[in-house]
C-alpha cells in the first residue's frame, strides 16, 4: 500500500522539515539536483575537526526528498566524517537491498518502504549524495546530480 511509503513520520517531516534554513557559518556546502523531478537542495555543514557540529538544508522537492533531508540532518549531529559516510552506506542498503541491516539507523528506517518504489530511490538519496559531496570534496560548493 502506498501508505507504507508515505509513513506518518515522512509526511510530518515533509510538511515541517527540521533544520531547514541556510547557515551563515557553514564551512562545507554542496548542492544537489535531481533533474528528473526538479528537486533542488542546498546542504550546509559546520565541521569542527572531524565532527559534524551543525547541519542544515534548504531546497524544494517532493515529500520523500524533503523528509529524507530533514531526517538526515537530525541523525548527523555529533557524528564523525567516517560515521556519517558509514550511515550513508547503511541508508543506501536500506533502500536497495532485500535484507538490510537496520541497526543504528534509528528513525531513518521509516524509508524502508521506498524499496518497493525503485523510481523514488533517487528522491530519498538526493540529500545523502549531497552530503557525501559536502564531506569529501574540499573545493567550494560542488553540485551533485542524481541523474
Amino acid at each position: 500500500m502506498v501508505h507504507e511509503l508515505y509513513e506518518e513520520t515522512i509526511i510530518d517531516h515533509s510538511k515541517r522539515p527540521r533544520n531547514c534554513h541556510p547557515m551563515d557559518d557553514a564551512n562545507h556546502r554542496a548542492e544537489g539536483y535531481n533533474p528528473l523531478c526538479g528537486d533542488k537542495l542546498k546542504l550546509y555543514l559546520r565541521m569542527e575537526g572531524d565532527i559534524v557540529k551543525d547541519v542544515s538544508f534548504v531546497g524544494s522537492g517532493c515529500a520523500i526528498s524533503t523528509a529524507s533531508a530533514s531526517l538526515m540532518t537530525e541523525s548527523l549531529r555529533g557524528k564523525t566524517r567516517a560515521e556519517a559516510l558509514a550511515l550513508l552506506d547503511r541508508f543506501h542498503d536500506l533502500l536497495t537491498t532485500d535484507s538490510p541491516v537496520t541497526k543504528d539507523l534509528g528513525k531513518l528506517v521509516v524509508f524502508c518502504g521506498v524499496r518497493d518504489y525503485p523510481a523514488r530511490v533517487k528522491c530519498a538519496t538526493l540529500a545523502w549524495h549531497t552530503l557525501k559531496s559536502a564531506l569529501t570534496d574540499e573545493s567550494a560548493d560542488p553540485v551533485v546530480s542524481t541523474e
Binding site: M1, V2, H3, L5, Y6, I11, K15, L36, C37, G38, D39, K40, S60, G61, C62, A63, I64, Y117, A119, R120, C123
Partner: protein, 415 residues
C-alpha cells in the same frame, strides 16, 4: 452542454476503440490500467502490432535493392507507407517525406543540413517559449556554431503566444521560425498558419514541430504553408523509432545530405559521389523498415476512425476533465489557452508532482510528472514541475473520474 457524459459517450464508441488496444486490458497494482500518458507515447492498436509482425514473419527483406520477391514486397510495403503519410499530411509529393527516427531527428536534420548551409554569423532563429527541448537545443547548437542568435516568442499566463511580441522579433536577419503546433506541456494549439505567414513575410522559413498535433487533429502541410513539418510515429499509435520530416521539395533539393551512406547515393567513386534523388538523399543506410510499415498501419487506423472525430471526442473529454479537476480544492491547471489539445497539466498546493504520480500509479493511473522536457515552460510559470494527464481517443469519461478520485486520495494522504 457538449460535455454531458451521455452525449460524449453517444458521439463516439470508445469501447469499440478500446477493444483494439491489447495493452489497455491489463490491471496495474491490482487496478484497471488508466493510461493518461499518451503525450509521451500513444498505445498501439492490434493492427499496428500485426503489420510489424507480418513484415517480420512474411516479407522480411532489405528494400530498394533486391530483385527477389521478398525484397520487392518489403519495398512495396515501405513505399506504400510513405504514400499513406502523403495522404495523412496532404503533401504535394511522396518525395517531400523523409523517414526519420522521430520529430527530434527531423528537426536535427533541418538544423544540421539546412542550417549549416544557410545560417551565418549575426543571423537569427526564432523559437517560442513553449518549445520542447527538441525544438530548442538543435537550434541552440546551430547558433553556437555559427554565431547566430536564438530569439524567443514569449507567452502569457494562459499559455498563449504573444503574436505582437513575435512580430517585433522578426527582422531581415531572421532565417528560421521554429514553433510547435501543439505544446506538450500546456496543450496550447498555436495559430501556426498565422505564424508561418508572418515568418514568410519577413523572408524567413518556418518549421513546425507537429509531434503533439499529428495524433490529435487533421494536419494539412499545404494549408499550413509550412516549409518543414516534423512528427513522431509513436505518438500517433505507431511504433517508436520512426517519424516523418516533411520539407518543401525546392528546399530539400537545395540542402546537402544529412548523413552519408548507402541508399542516399547514385554513384560512388573515391573521387566523387553523386547523391540520390529525394527523398532518398536524406535516408542513408537501411532504414527502420518495420517501423515505417507500422506507421503506415497506424495512420490507416486513425484515419479510418477520422481525425475530426478524434479531435471532437478528445475536446469533449478535455472540457469534462478540466471541469472535474478544477473542482478539486488547491488544484491549478497550468495551460488554459482558448485553443487546447487534450492535455491536463496541473499543480496541487503543497504537494509535489512526483508524490502525486506515485500515489496515482498505485491506483493503476499512469500520468507524467516532471518538466516534460520543457524546462523553460516550467520556469515561465515559476514551478519546478507539473503533473500531466494527457488524453487520447481511447480514454473514457470513467477514466477521468478515476483520475479525480485518485487525486482526492492524494489529498487525503498529504492533508
Amino acid at each position: 452542454m457538449s460535455t454531458q457524459i451521455g452525449e460524449i459517450q453517444a458521439a463516439f464508441d470508445v469501447e469499440r476503440v478500446r477493444a483494439d488496444f491489447p495493452v489497455l486490458k491489463q490491471t496495474v497494482h491490482g487496478k484497471p490500467l488508466v493510461y493518461l500518458d499518451s503525450a509521451a507515447t500513444a498505445q498501439k492498436p492490434a493492427c499496428v502490432v500485426e503489420a510489424i509482425r507480418h513484415f517480420h514473419e512474411v516479407d522480411c527483406a532489405n528494400i530498394h535493392r533486391g530483385v527477389h520477391e521478398l525484397s520487392q514486397r518489403s519495398t512495396a510495403s515501405y513505399e506504400e507507407a510513405r504514400a499513406k503519410v502523403k495522404r495523412f499530411l496532404n503533401s504535394r509529393s511522396k518525395n517531400e517525406l523523409i523517414f526519420v527516427r522521430g520529430a527530434t531527428e527531423g528537426i536535427n536534420l533541418v538544423s544540421s543540413s539546412w542550417g549549416r548551409k544557410n545560417v551565418r554569423e549575426g543571423d537569427e532563429i526564432v523559437v517560442s517559449a513553449m518549445e520542447h527541448h527538441s525544438n530548442i537545443v538543435p537550434w541552440q547548437m546551430l547558433c553556437e556554431e555559427k554565431g547566430a542568435r536564438l530569439r524567443v516568442i514569449p507567452m502569457d499566463d494562459r499559455g498563449e503566444l504573444l503574436l505582437d511580441e513575435y512580430r517585433k522579433l522578426l527582422n531581415p536577419r531572421t532565417r528560421m521560425v521554429a514553433v510547435t503546433h501543439v505544446s506538450n506541456a500546456l496543450g496550447t494549439v498555436n495559430p501556426v498558419r498565422q505564424i508561418v505567414d508572418m515568418a514568410h513575410k519577413a523572408g524567413a522559413l518556418a518549421l513546425i514541430d507537429g509531434a503533439q498535433a499529428a495524433p490529435h487533429m487533421k494536419v494539412d502541410v499545404q494549408a499550413l504553408d509550412a516549409d518543414f513539418y516534423a512528427f513522431s510515429g509513436h505518438k500517433v499509435c505507431g511504433p517508436t523509432g520512426i517519424g516523418i520530416l516533411y520539407g518543401r521539395a525546392r528546399l530539400l533539393n537545395a540542402m546537402p545530405p544529412y548523413q552519408g551512406g548507402g541508399d542516399m547515393i547514385r554513384t560512388v567513386t573515391f573521387e566523387k559521389t553523386t547523391y540520390n534523388d529525394l527523398p532518398y538523399k536524406f535516408e542513408a543506410g537501411t532504414p527502420n523498415i518495420a517501423g515505417g510499415i507500422g506507421l503506415g498501419a497506424a495512420l490507416d487506423y486513425v484515419t479510418n476512425i477520422g481525425l475530426d472525430k478524434i479531435a471532437a471526442y478528445e475536446h469533449d473529454l478535455l472540457l469534462y476533465g478540466a471541469r472535474k479537476l478544477t473542482e478539486i480544492p488547491g488544484l491549478r491547471l497550468i495551460g488554459t489557452a482558448s485553443e487546447k489539445a487534450a492535455v491536463l497539466s496541473f499543480v496541487m498546493e503543497g504537494i509535489h508532482p512526483h508524490d502525486i504520480g506515485t500515489v496515482l500509479d498505485r491506483q493503476g493511473i499512469a500520468v507524467r510528472t516532471g518538466h516534460h522536457c520543457a524546462q523553460p515552460v516550467m520556469d515561465r510559470f515559476h514551478i519546478p514541475a507539473t503533473t500531466r494527464a494527457s488524453l487520447a481517443f481511447y480514454n473514457t469519461v470513467g477514466e477521468i473520474d478515476a483520475l479525480a478520485a485518485g487525486l482526492n486520495k492524494v489529498k487525503e494522504i498529504f492533508s
